[in-house]
Each structure stands twice: as C-alpha cells, then as structure tokens.
Symmetry: C2
DNA sequence: CTCAAATGAGTAACCGATTACACATTTAAT
DNA sequence: ATTAAATGTGTAATCGGTTACTCATTTGAG
C-alpha cells in the first residue's frame, strides 16, 4: 500500500523492479486512485476556482478558456463560478469551495471588500482590482487604453465625444472614465453630461445613449467602457438611421470576439484577454506551490484595433 | 462526534436539548464540516458536471446558467467543462471527475459513442442526442422547428431558399436539414447545392454563403441550422450590399441573446434553452437520488420569433 | 572487515467525516 | 408490574489514500 503510493507519487525509495510490478498490477486491476481520499489526507484538492460576475459576457468566456488551459497543464481542475454580480452568491461559493479544500481562487469580480478578500486564508489572485498590497493583481492599463481610444476619435475628426462608463465604484470603470477626461476635460465642447452610465450592460447602455441623443444630437464620437456597451450604442445609431462611422464613430473596450460579429465591425481597445487569463493562472499556481513571486501588480498593454466603426486613415 | 453528525444530517435520534447544545458549540467554535471527508465516506461529492462543446457559444452559457440555478437549489455544485469538441478532452474530464466521486453528468456534447456513454456507470442525462434507451435525453423538436422556419420564409415570398447546415453526423443538424428538405425538396427550384455546411460556426458559415452567392445570386431566403451561422450569413449580405430583409430573408435556430445584438435583429426558431437546462438538471438529480423517471425522451416545443431579418406581416 | 549511511518495503496512525453497533434510559403496551 | 419497543448517546470501524516510523538489507568509506 505504502509502496504503491510511493510509486504513484514518485517519492521515497522504491526498487526499480518493484515499480515495474506495481505498474503491472495497476494495469491488471484497472486501478485508479481515489482523488477524494487523496485530498483528505493531503488537505488539497488540486482544484482552483475562477469567479466571474457574468458568464454571459464573452470577455469572461475567453478568460475562462485561458485559465482552464493553464491549470490543466499543471494538473489542476478549474471550477467556473458565476456570481451574477451578487456578493451573497460569491460568499456562498467561497464558503462551499473552502469546505472542499479548494487550492486557490482567481477573482474576476469586484464586489467583495478588500477586507473580506484579505481574510480568505486561501491563495488568490485578482483581476482588475486596484493595487492590493497582499494580493497579486492583473489588469490592463485602463487609463492609458482609454486615452488611446479618445485620441483616435479626436484625430479622426470627432468634435463632440461622449463616454458610456461602467458601474460607479468599479475601479476599471473609473480608470477608463478618467482616461477619457484626461483628453477632453479642457476642450470647449466638453460637459459632464456627455458621460452616461451603462453599467457594462448592452441594454442599459442603449437606453442611456438613446436618451442623450435627444438632447445632444450633434455627438459624433462615442467611447464606451466596454464592447458590450459599444454594441448597444451601435444599435441605437442603426435604429435612428445615423450612419456609422460616417456620422458617428464608436470605439469600445475589451476586444471580445463579439465585436467582429456585428456590422460594421467594432473598433476597440483590445486587452490581451487570453494572456491575462493565462498569467493569472500561472501566478496563482506559483502562489499555491509557494514559489516566490517577482511582481505583485501586472499591468498589461492594450492595442487599439480600428475596424468598421471608425474612420481611420491607415 | 456521532451525535454532531446526526444533528447536522438530521438523522437518527437526538434529544432536543442536545441539538441546541450542538448548535451552540458549532457557533462558538466556528465549525464548518469538511466536505471532502464527507464525500469520502458517503462516496458522493454533491457535485455534477455539465459538459459542453463550446463555452463561447451563448447557447451553452444560457444552458449553464439554468443548470447551475437548479443544482444549487438542490444543494449540488456544478462544474462546467468545455471540451472544445475534442473527445480526448471529454474522456479526460470524465476520468478525472469520476475519481472525484462526481454524482452525475449532463452531456451537451455529441462526440462520444453511445457505447462509451453506456459504460459510464454514473448517472447521466444527454442533450440533443437521439433516442437513447438507457439515458434520458432532452432536445427540441428539431425537424418541426426547421419546418416552422422554412414555411415562414415560403409564405413571406421567398422563391429560392438555401440551408446552412450543421456538422455532418450530428443528429440535430441532420434533423434540421431534414425539416428543410421536407418543405422544399419537391419544389422546382430546389437543388442539393442549396445546402452548404457551416459546422455551426459563424466563420465557416460566412465563407460557405459567400461562395454560394457567386453561383446562386438569386437566393432570397436563408435558413441556418443555428443562430451563429445565421449571423455569419447576415454579415455576408451586409458586406455584399444585399439588403436584409428586402432582398434576402434570414432565419436562424436557437434563440440566443446574440440574435438581438445584431442589426437588423435576427429572426429565429427559439428553443426554450433555459427550460431545457433546468429540466436536464432536475432529471439528473432525480436519477441521482434514485427517484423514478416518468419519461426518457423529452421533446421541447420551439417558437418562431420573427424579428428584423424577415418580412413578416403581423 | 567494521559500521554508519543509504536503500527498500511493511505497519500503523492519520485526514474528518458517516454509520453500524452496543448500551443505557425512557416510553408504552399488556 | 413486567417487558418489549422506542429513544438517546457514545465507541469503533470504515471510506482510500499519505506518510512517519520501524526494521531489514545493501552499499561503501575508512
């Protein structure tokens, strides 16, 4: 028994011939080890959880794909948890999973307080969170990315640019909004009314854009805090008979595949979603396996991709 | 110890006062039971797995949402597994999960042979599979749904309707194609060339449609085997400057939210995706808990939803 | 050649629950 | 009043692994 365990885990001394015999026996008996029993004695489940706010958003799909790929390579299983933006659901998940000896969490949500996060007692990495001291975080350079978008709009002839921002209090939403402000705040056409809240949802963004066009029909540029909202804006333009990109240019943020499914195809500030997912997974595993981390805060570069909703010259 | 277990599981005789005391102690000590140990002795993990071929397809997102909701209500955890259409990955998942005492599977994939499925030794329900004897299955009335779509196209003036079918060998793809054939096979304009394969993918569908329009520019109706492919077709029309629905009418199949994100909004044969997911979960749990099942094969009704890609009169 | 270190393999304790069983006490039927 | 059945609680075996510990055998350095 102990010898078999040693063979399977390649630990301690076992004679070559014995290893051979054990393998034969395993083959013969079609033996498969019981992971639950192993977890119980090891106090580890070789499983990590990826917690996302909205599984329906393609951004998180892609993230999940990346995380899964890496964790699988290292012999871990990934559990995908959808919280629907509810802190209660999130706490429930964390509680349940801790009882199952979960080895670590990747939090792509932003609903729990830093305090709660700190008290978790389980290895963890966070996405899109601000400057934690204790927890490794990964995000793209949101403010810079926003500037990239707005600058392109300005250069390509926009004279009145609105911003559809994400939820109040969400760090990435603030940052992207700030990037927009950096470039337009001092221009004479600017007014805070040009910033509307779309809560990162297509539908809410549509409604907000529809409303603002009643009072500001001369808007000719839209920078949305994510692609879903940009597509919502595009829809409004199409329903109103406003030509995109001739009359209004639109740039989103994220770079989800959905952006290429609409027509005209969406121009966007593309985050390296897949890489961010892979990085998060690698860092988490490092943390679980107690290897030292070089850096705590990883800031990824964005790429402005101009497609059909902008009048780019190149 | 035994008493605490009895209190928590509400099994056997325990005195009221003792129950009270145990609860107090639990509160005091912040005790949480260890699920792994419980799993080991119960030989059950209170966890089920939903296996899907493509987590990126919104159809499966919605399905996952529904399954998760139901399983959570019954105290189960759901693991979402993405196979990327690879049988190898699927087998790997099954193997790994069985070692973790998984309680059941919902298979939304169609890559494994019936034989393998039969030998699983774990409760299981299948989606979109043909008429199993041993395994409960859930699907929509594919052939009937297809007829619904094609009939609408015919009634609304189409004189040459093409079909973008799903993968060869996939049962639901065959059925939907058959429904199309039922209505058009005997019409004088029909030729098998009007059926192209899009493999349920947007991109492949786009390419196929683009190609067929070189030789058959007079097509004025498109029935696609799923919404993703319909959107691919829509994209081709837009790029070619063909007006939808004036010159070409398009109907998809599935009823995913994505259909409402494109413009014009996609007409589609909507399956009750959420209900199918909930039903699958309920049936699986029934099976796990050894309750008798009334029916093995559940066929759901579809609803034709006409939106912007068809010229409906109502 | 001697003896300490390295190697190899078995025994038993442990992980943290569930549950069969034993035993004591209470309830209720005759 | 007697006794079988119901109620309440503790003890110990079990689930299937891991691993500290023990003991026997090899190896090799002095």
């Amino acid at each position: 028994m102990a010898t078999v365990s040693r063979v399977l885990n390649q630990k301690g001394y076992v004679h070559k011939d014995t290893v051979q015999k054990v393998h034969e026996a395993i083959e013969m008996l079609q033996y498969t080890p019981n992971d639950i029993a192993r977890s119980l004695s090891k106090k580890s489940s070789k499983t990590i959880a990826l917690i996302v706010p909205d599984i329906t958003n393609p951004f998180f799909n892609e993230l999940a794909l990346a995380v899964e790929k890496v964790t699988q390579m290292y012999g871990y299983t990934t559990i995908l948890c959808n919280t629907n933006d509810s802190p209660a659901v999130e706490r429930q998940y964390i509680q349940t999973l801790k009882q199952k000896y979960i080895d670590g969490f990747i939090m792509a949500t932003n609903t729990l307080s830093s305090n709660e996060i700190d008290q978790l007692q389980v290895p963890l990495v966070a996405l899109d969170r601000f400057n934690f001291q204790t927890v490794p975080t990964i995000s793209s350079k949101n403010r810079e990315g926003a500037r990239l978008a707005v600058q392109a709009l300005l250069q390509q002839g926009c004279t009145k640019i609105m911003h559809i921002r994400g939820p109040k209090g969400l760090w990435i939403a603030e940052e992207r909004c700030q990037g927009y402000l950096d470039l337009v705040e001092d221009l004479d056409w600017f007014t805070p009314k040009l910033i509307v809240n779309g809560n990162f949802q297509l539908k809410e963004a549509s409604e907000a854009v529809n409303k603002i066009f009643e009072t500001h029909p001369d808007i000719d540029g839209i920078f949305a805090g994510n692609d879903l909202m940009a597509i919502g804006a595009l829809r409004v333009m199409q329903k109103r008979g406003i030509r995109v990109p001739d009359q209004v240019q639109i740039i989103g943020y994220d770079g989800i595949p959905l952006g290429e499914m609409v027509y005209p195809e969406l121009s966007t500030v593309a985050q390296p979603i897949y890489e961010m997912g892979m990085l998060a997974a690698r860092i988490l595993i490092k943390k679980i396996e107690q290897q030292p981390l070089e850096e705590m805060n990883h800031q990824m570069d964005n790429e402005l991709i101009q497609r059909g909703t902008t009048r780019h010259t190149s």
